[in-house]
Symmetry: C2
Subunit: 413 residues, 2 copies
């Protein structure tokens, strides 16, 4: 008998019939003797509808207006509230004692950054008592309560984070993330049909996979799982008895291949400043204004100076940030003193990830050779202890991912 | 400059365009120098959708199951939460500082009777401060917070009650109920085209009108308005500058006709117990079990005993309670000792209402004569100081209402 957290995403609760299926999965855990907290997203489609309403409400008045973020949260959070109530109704009708908990009731305390708030703590004293008393707690995901007792939301995908934070908050033995795929794969199976499901993946690896483009889990949820050492499983709502992937400590993984998985992201844009002065202080002149403009600079490369006086500097950010980045650079043109600026969004980032890299030298070399053999030019490189990322032309993404998947012997037999 | 409460129903906020219209009405009050709390219903159609989901969720499991009432409230209350956020977004985009307040945030404290909770108090300390600071408070109607910090709802039409209770709670000088009609009429204009809008109506009269079938305001909202002496206006969202009806003290009405209005209700059922013993204790034997079964007995008539030993007893309840009432009587047949029981739902109640009745004798007599002249049989009569109600066959409702409207000289010129 253990306390476990379960999480179901929007497609898993898309209609009443699916909510009923979710209820049977919850009931099964209760019948196994487990105590359960279940975290739910909004029914698929509901969030989009609510978001569209908030935009209409603001833009009808003024085409430039964006919705007041705190009120946006009030509207959008209603989606998960509805699902939590419906699942609790279904469970009670099945004879499983259950009650819903909105973010403010748990409480899931968050920062005041409405629309993309950060979970700061899940005291959950009363909810824990209810769970220990045998009642299933149905928690509205994606939401919390910000300072001033205002409703907040965590931003898209935040329900994963809610689930892991609730699991940590109630001291759950396990957090099961039910989704529409049956686990974490070596790479995106839509690109590489030979991709394999991983039985286990280390928290650190999953964190890199998620932040480098793998969409199966939200980055912040993996951070919390890692921080609180919550054993987290990814498994399919529709085939819950097969497969699944366990996020665990590095020590719990016996066979450590040099590369565990390959991630990619198309949400990349590249900006190059030509002929900037090659002297101290120029980086600060460039990246200070970008940070102020809320641009998250990712990869950076500075060319070797040819004339000893100027150099070219290239960096990447997300496509959504491109316009803001260019505006910030133009505004500070006098301080930066570049000759010209070029930019493109036709780039993508491909990354190899693996804790085994630490023990295997030459892992990056194989990546570069493999891409070279396919005639793919590497524009920027960035590395960390357990990953190597390269920026390439977007049109080569599939080719690159497939070639690397084979080169690192990840293909299924 | 005054603090006022405004209330908009579901048809007034049915889509974003209408919410925008509501925002302009709120803005106008702010520009007049007023401080405003605005109470909103769910967008027309939303509540029905949410209610249907709760029923599906419960019934899919077990055809007899009704949704857990506390979770029903969680789901349904989301409707008003959404509207409150959308109106706050619209107002902010218009440059009118506004924030939404859910029932639990105000707080609107209610009883624990989920699904039809009763407002017990609206402390609203913080909200009052925000309003005094010049911020429009957009309150989610129809909901509150029950003991145990659970979301509660007031039952259909509860947003009127929310509005008047909020007006009382913040000490508003006035409560304006915007709806799809432009005031309170002498009777239902769909039946009597010559019905006239009333400029003023006394709280007591409105209370009788509402509880006897007039649908323009919820009974409980009138009770609260009367109790706290909140001057309450009913006016049209779509033509806010014409007409309207003010609920006020009896003393503020100069011309007191004997009859102010005529109400009717088709939601009536009649049960007759034949040959019950005509002796003390029989009423208790009948009405005790009915009260236990949650049946609200309305009109009662006991015939004169013909044999000196038994009598016939007739009473009415709503059509929804008929089955429960018959079951309760059957269960207690031994104690009541009736010969037989008959029942019908083909009846309706027609009432004349007016504070002027107190000063004018013979008012009821005109009612009975008018109905007799039309050949309408009166089955049951009940009276109070300011109303006379009669039960008649349902098919005569329109005829009776029209005849009485003329007889009491209420027809528009």
């Amino acid at each position: 008998m253990a306390t476990i957290a379960m999480k179901f995403g929007g497609t898993s609760v898309a209609d009443i019939e699916r909510i009923r299926h979710v209820a049977t999965l919850v009931k099964r855990e209760v019948e196994r003797g487990n105590k359960v907290a279940v975290v739910v997203s909004a029914m698929a489609g509901e969030t989009n509808k609510l978001v569209a309403w908030t935009n209409d409400a603001a833009r009808g008045i003024n085409n430039l207006a964006i919705p007041d973020q705190r009120e946006y949260d009030v509207v959008v959070a209603a989606g998960e509230q509805i699902t939590s109530g419906l699942l609790a109704i279904t469970l009670n009708a099945m004879g499983v004692k259950a009650r819903s908990w909105a973010g403010w009731q748990v409480p899931i305390n968050t920062s005041a950054v409405h629309g993309s708030a950060r979970i700061e703590g899940v005291p959950a004293t009363e909810m824990k008592r209810a769970i220990e008393g045998g009642e299933v707690a149905v928690v509205a995901g994606f939401q919390g309560v910000a300072p001033g007792v205002r409703i907040s939301t965590l931003g898209r995908g935040g329900s994963d984070t809610s689930a892991v934070a609730v699991a940590a908050g109630i001291g759950a033995a396990r957090c099961d993330i039910y989704t529409d795929v049956d686990g974490v794969y070596t790479t995106d199976p839509r690109i590489v049909p030979k991709a394999r499901r991983l039985e286990k993946i280390a928290y650190e690896e999953m964190l890199e996979m998620a932040s480098l483009g793998a969409k199966v889990l939200q980055t912040r949820s993996v951070e919390i799982a890692m921080l609180h050492r919550v054993p987290t499983r990814v498994l399919s709502t529709f085939t819950p008895d097969v497969g699944g992937t366990l996020l665990c400590d590095e020590e719990d993984i016996v066979e450590k291949k040099p590369v565990t998985g390959i991630a990619y992201s198309r949400d990349e844009a590249k900006i190059t400043l030509h002929k900037v002065p090659d002297k101290p202080g120029v980086s600060a002149a460039i990246f200070g204004p970008l940070a102020d403009a809320g641009v998250n600079v990712d990869m950076i490369v500075q060319n070797v100076s040819e004339d000893g006086e100027t150099t070219d500097l290239t960096f990447t950010c997300t496509r959504g940030e491109l316009t803001r980045a260019l505006a910030a650079i133009e505004t500070h043109a006098k301080d930066i003193r570049y000759r010209s600026v070029t930019h493109t969004a036709d780039v993508a980032k491909v990354s190899i990830i693996g804790i085994g890299m630490r023990a295997h030298p030459g892992v990056a070399q194989l990546m570069f050779r493999t891409l070279a053999e396919k005639g793919i030019n590497i524009e920027v490189i960035s590395t960390s202890e357990i990953k190597v990322s390269v920026l390439i032309a977007e049109e080569y993404v599939e080719l690159a991912v497939r070639a690397l998947h084979s080169a690192y012997e990840l293909d299924a037999a």
